[in-house]
Symmetry: D2
Subunit: 482 residues, 4 copies
């Protein structure tokens, strides 16, 4: 029998923002690749389309990458071949299939400085411009990924040490990046000055671990140490860890959506428990958007913590009114005599015995296009609910992300051109309430809403995106070589 | 990309009882096989090792069976070939692999009465004796499944109509059976007089549906009608449904474990909501086994409803202290420098930020060998919990099941030879409490504990099992042809 | 990388008769299953759709069967599990796919006499009648294969010893059978009194081997001993080999097509070298059907020996004018702007440099529908041949086979309703010559054409086939359960 | 059922030189990719490890590459996506597995000149030096293949037109190359001035086809036109074909091993029929190395034409004394009680009835390590041959190839350190004869041995190979990133 997997939020994926990557690195452990492999598995929710690991043994980099889930890409035999005391890994979410194997990370190259591998979470907003400039100088590009631009800059740097070349190169780029580099003898981790994407530091015995989220540390029984700071460069060698802050300081603008939806609830991200922040979203939502109701139910699983917080705050009973089918595959064969709300129904079932005659608060984490919410409201109502009150534990999403998250165009975002009332009508709920932007920051002691990027809610982009970057983004590259 | 699946309770499967089958039948719908396919998918939790569908078109039975999950066994092309207005299906849990494809159901045979297919959930306790007798008369056996005995009895019956032959045959067998038969022109559903295994009846437009649980009806948007009664025979033809009660009445002894663990929480089984019964288990457990604690957490997902009930009754905060990884495969590659509690850790993560310093009630549905509970207690304590109080929403399991459930031998059941205190010590909990046998029936209006089989808790077997049946069970058959 | 295989005569399969099975048995060797596996691989040309092995260890029969080539069905791990000093195996050619896994052999059953496995090459012409009679007595049938009828007869026999039951059962059947049976302690091989299908006996050290053709013995380095005689029953036990002739003697009618096409050229079949017989066909063909030509070329690979014989006898130069592509798969993607003779061209290429301006004799072993011959004549002529003279090393095929070979209906056989001249015109050859029926026997010292079944050439069926057997053959069974 | 394939000379692959690539290009046909796909299939013998196709549609290059045989890498759906009127393709033989997907060709890059794809057959002997120099200038390398060096040189060229850049770049490289380039609007084919590797030009209607061998043209029904000349550059655009000879002329040194073994016998290579040249090798071998024998048998299939020539010249009977099993997979499971000559025996069977008592000439195309020849001699003798006379239709191989062929080190070549007598003793033949170097050129009208590279026989390398190139070859690159 083959291994089996699911995507927890597969039910709602078509109607969610998508994280683009998970990265991880281990230095100083005899089974580095195996630990990286397990860490990638813990970070599987950050990218399901491809996975890769590169290990360093003596003067050699050994790599394996493939399309699919971590458990499918790696076998015991492959892990055994990824020898050496250091390794880095990458999970990628991407929009298309087989032909993009070349875009799979970590990238591995050889250049004048020797062998170099890199895993990248984020997006460089000036990649198009840089790529053009590099090509003028004779560079060739084999992928459509912005990370390749970075490697060219590193190779072109006059720096002597790899870490100097990397810093040199990063001075030319703008945007979001949590990066893990591997050379035959060192591991270098960098987080952009804004700290858009998360990155944490941990230890397992004497070995150093960096990973996108702390849940990766938990699985391998590593000790969480701290967040890698925005703008920090960590160089890990046999001699230990060195920390630099070579970039001009910038106001931190960590992605708030990691708290809303991306990160696993059991992770620490930005030095806070994601689960606790989400519960607080729910509590605040109950204060801002109360409902005269009998029970509170989450849209599983992502709406769970906020629903618990809402129910607690509102003093309402929490129930699992929607039950997930855990054997979810990509597609199911629907009869021609179509079944109502089939797409959601194969993933969720509304409990009639529980919902019948009730006034129900349904808590979800976000609304993107609105189509899934509409189906859920229908299902809950058809199961007998007397009233359906939709509560969303984030503000309306109105803008695309240019910092490493796959988002629909603004035209596709229902909230970009519709009022809350119009959305409520579209999803056929009795009432609809979003968390306010300021309420979103109630989890901060200060209560002050700064330190975070909330561009997708506000349209205020902390790092400017040129029209070229906006329009072309990855597309331009892909146009050239599908 | 391949479809992806998971097994919801895969985390704990090695330490759970296993349901052995799900059955379903649809009569009178132009897309019968497609509806059966979806129903099997909804019943996937009842058996993951093989799946099969047989459809009836004109005078022909068309079958497809295979090893694996429903979504893997059937493609759109295969479903298209399973033409006709009637079909039956089967999911099977089995202990071994490829070589047992021959045991995959539905069985399809040709005999003097024509073509016949059958799907069986249950176990015939006198199969060994009957098999011996049939062989004396010249019968040959190609599988190691008790259902084949039944088909021989049907073929040997002097009855004219298929339904008469079936009743005739069933008069000779003892044990548990929810059966769905298909001939080219009729569908026949039977539930044994004790009603050991569940079976429900529903409608989708004019078509008739029978299925192990009501969640199968929900997915295909069929209307739940009622439980098929213990001892009832339903014959469905183009002329409509006929109902018979041809067997001597017996006291109903429905399997209580369907409520404890097997059935999906969103199903109606034995005309009650499984979710509601489980919440009541939890409430009663809180009354019987209170704990001086700060929070209540479930072992996800099976412990969820009981934990909600416990928390409600006890007035304690409910939290998701254990988070599941939803990308669970069969096996993961563990480093040689082994990780603590690896087997559970790849599936569950304990939330340190939540548990730190807390007195925690952990609610699970059952304890089989105790090894998983022990790992969970360790994980919760390592995450910082001050006290760990394990509460089990069923009585201690002390006996094997002979009515269609795969159970360990009594020697493997920790509760068969250990006191509650000894088990508590083994699992290293601060306290351990089980639901009492009588408390288990608190969900009944009467409060009287009858109408159910609880042999695995009590050792009282409602249908006698001979030593031969006990010792040999399926084993004897398998010994002959692995 | 996966193993790779081809079908040697795949090029021409759509226009060839098809052998239906290869059988093999080994007794008395510690690695019996491994030897059976290799023997099946050597007999792969006799059946490519499924393969199976059953071994006997102590009182247990262990089986593995699957769809596909031997090398795909069996892994090292599976072979290891097929323990014990005796084993039998089977290759099967069948017309349809997955759903007929149930028809895969060897069959394994348990009946009053214990465990029994059987592998069958041939066809029972009275299977339909027997099946009907057995069903009247209460028998159930799970496959559509005539072998199942035989097992029922064995189970119904009053005989004490297995060998007595088998002989008993075989007295009731008519038709073609080379059978290998396995019980936990003995191997029994039987060839029908007419000796339709081949079966040879060999030794590897102290172990006994039976197989359809001697090439199976060669691969495992076993010593060829002799043909199992028509009507002979061999019982092999730890005590040695016993030979019986329990059936009334019948005139032997060995299938002549084994010499024409089915058997591998390097096999001894009916105690003669297949290669030598084919060369003699070619020599005789040159005498009967000379051609005024420059070179002789075979249709590879099956026409090779006859072409060598033809060239030798005619004193003409032998050349490889048609070259095979050895990387042949099932299907290739043809452009919409279709390529001439694509179906043959992907498998064969005509050598223009060699053929240009030549008068060419093309030697093939048989013509079935004529469509392939037509394409080959076109290709050879387009490559520049001045004249194309087709010579066939067998007589025109006019009748179907009912003795275990998959043949088209007479309507599809071009020679059943067309003169040689008409066929020549259809295939567009300059001349066409078949071997005469009497000439076909020139390889016999006596020169007398008896001892062989040539019904497909003559329409004279040595064992009568009833209309029922003729019309229904396997079809009837399959109609009931596709 | 899966497609099935074989490797014709798989039997002897472990003991053969290996071709490294096949290339093909089609310009001006609406189904260019489909024709390229079929051409690659016809060239499958030149490389079985990976395959790739790139098509050009409007301004876009569309690519698909994968590990495995052509028929496995491409599906109908993939071919459909490779739209456009021009395409190029590549088959690659490589020594290792999955991790080298990055080395799969055609390469596709984007550089200042736009999109460019390239397929390469050959080897650049100064790639290591060039790679070092390019890295100094900031180039990064993602593969371990010399072709990547070439692309960097093209990108760095100041040339305006792509063809100028290519010529510019090629002026810097030394070694063997038959190259096919594709841009969105043109196809460029180049053969190195020495003409080491073959390349032919053909037409299919108005479309232009280039391919390694003419058998690719035959399969797609294209007309063979001529050899692309050594040093010739062909630029194919919508305006037609332009031909250049931009390089200083060099004495042609076409690889003679294409005639000995690499090319398909039905191909025209270097404007001669491979089959005819091989037959002449056999005739000359019979003159130089006669044998007092009864029959001549080839080692199939590669020894076939030479054996026919030998038999013709010697007036001896030609027979198929060794028969191939056509269902050859990669590996077969051998019993522990090992079978003699198992490795060869699973692929070839010696015909005892034919060989018994005979004096046999065995004709093979080359001897590399001698181990396979030894097994063949044993098999033929064990089958009863009285005398075994091995005749090799090429001179002893004593040197490695640095021009695009995978060869063992000289230490592994038996002839590099052993006399013919010693080799004869090793392989246990009664006599052994090789074709003389001068005799090898008897197929030339002039009889003069020039115009060919025979370095593997003579040790005289027409293009100098530095120690660095010799020692490091591809290895150095691979050391850095396995």
């Amino acid at each position: 029998m083959e291994p089996r997997h699911t995507q927890d939020d597969a039910p709602l994926m078509p109607d969610r923002f998508h994280e683009e990557c998970g990265v991880v690195g281990v230095f100083g452990h005899p089974e580095a690749a195996n630990l990286v492999y397990l860490s990638l598995y813990a970070l599987q929710h950050r990218g399901q389309e491809s996975a890769g690991i590169v290990s360093a043994k003596d003067s050699v980099l050994i790599s394996h990458r493939g399309l699919g889930l971590v458990a499918d890409v790696f076998s015991e035999e492959i892990i055994r071949k990824l020898e050496g005391p250091a390794a880095i890994g990458h999970n990628r979410y991407s929009t298309s299939g087989q032909t993009l194997l070349k875009n799979t990370q970590p990238f591995v190259v050889e250049y004048a400085g020797g062998g170099l591998a890199v895993a990248h979470n984020g997006n460089l907003v000036n990649a198009v411009e840089l790529r053009g400039r590099l090509q003028e100088r004779g560079a060739i590009f084999q992928s459509t990924v912005d990370t390749e631009v970075l490697i060219h800059l590193i190779a072109a740097s006059p720096g002597k040490r790899v870490v100097d070349r990397i810093v040199d190169a990063l001075r030319e780029v703008r945007g979001a990046y949590s990066l893990v580099f591997l050379t035959p003898h060192e591991l270098i981790a960098v987080r952009d000055p804004n700290g858009f994407r998360p990155l944490v530091l941990g230890r397992i015995k004497d070995a150093v671990v960096v990973a996108s989220e702390s849940c990766a540390l938990d699985l391998i029984d590593a000790k969480y140490e701290r967040e890698v700071e925005p703008g920090e460069v960590l160089r890990v060698t046999a001699a230990g860890i060195e920390s630099f802050h070579p970039f001009p300081p910038a106001p931190p603008t960590r992605c708030i959506f990691e708290y809303i939806y991306f990160s696993r609830p059991d992770s620490r991200v930005y030095d806070r428990s994601v689960y606790e922040v989400r519960k607080q979203f729910g509590r605040q939502l109950a204060i801002e958007q109360p409902a005269d109701a009998d029970i509170v139910i989450p849209v599983p699983d992502s709406g769970m913590p906020a629903a618990l917080g809402y129910a607690e705050q509102a003093g309402l009973r929490f129930e699992m009114g929607l039950i997930r089918n855990h054997y979810v595959g990509r597609t199911f064969i629907e009869p021609q005599d179509a079944i109502r709300h089939f797409g959601v129904r194969v993933k969720l079932n509304a409990q009639a015995d529980l919902l019948r005659g009730k006034r129900v608060v349904v808590v979800d984490d976000s609304i993107v296009r609105g189509t899934t919410s509409r189906k859920i409201v229908h299902m809950v109502r058809n199961a007998g609910a007397r009233e359906v009150h939709m509560r969303i534990s984030s503000p309306p999403t109105i803008g695309s992300c240019f910092y490493g998250v796959d988002t629909p165009t603004p035209e596709e975002l229902i909230a970009s051109s519709n009022s809350v009332d119009a959305i409520r009508d579209f999803i056929t709920a009795d009432s609809l309430g979003f968390l306010s932007e300021s309420g979103m920051y109630s989890f901060l002691q200060s209560g002050q809403h700064n330190g975070f990027c909330a561009a997708c809610f506000t349209g205020r982009y902390p790092v400017p995106v040129t029209d070229q970057g906006r329009t072309h983004q990855l597309r331009l590259f892909e146009a050239r070589d599908r």
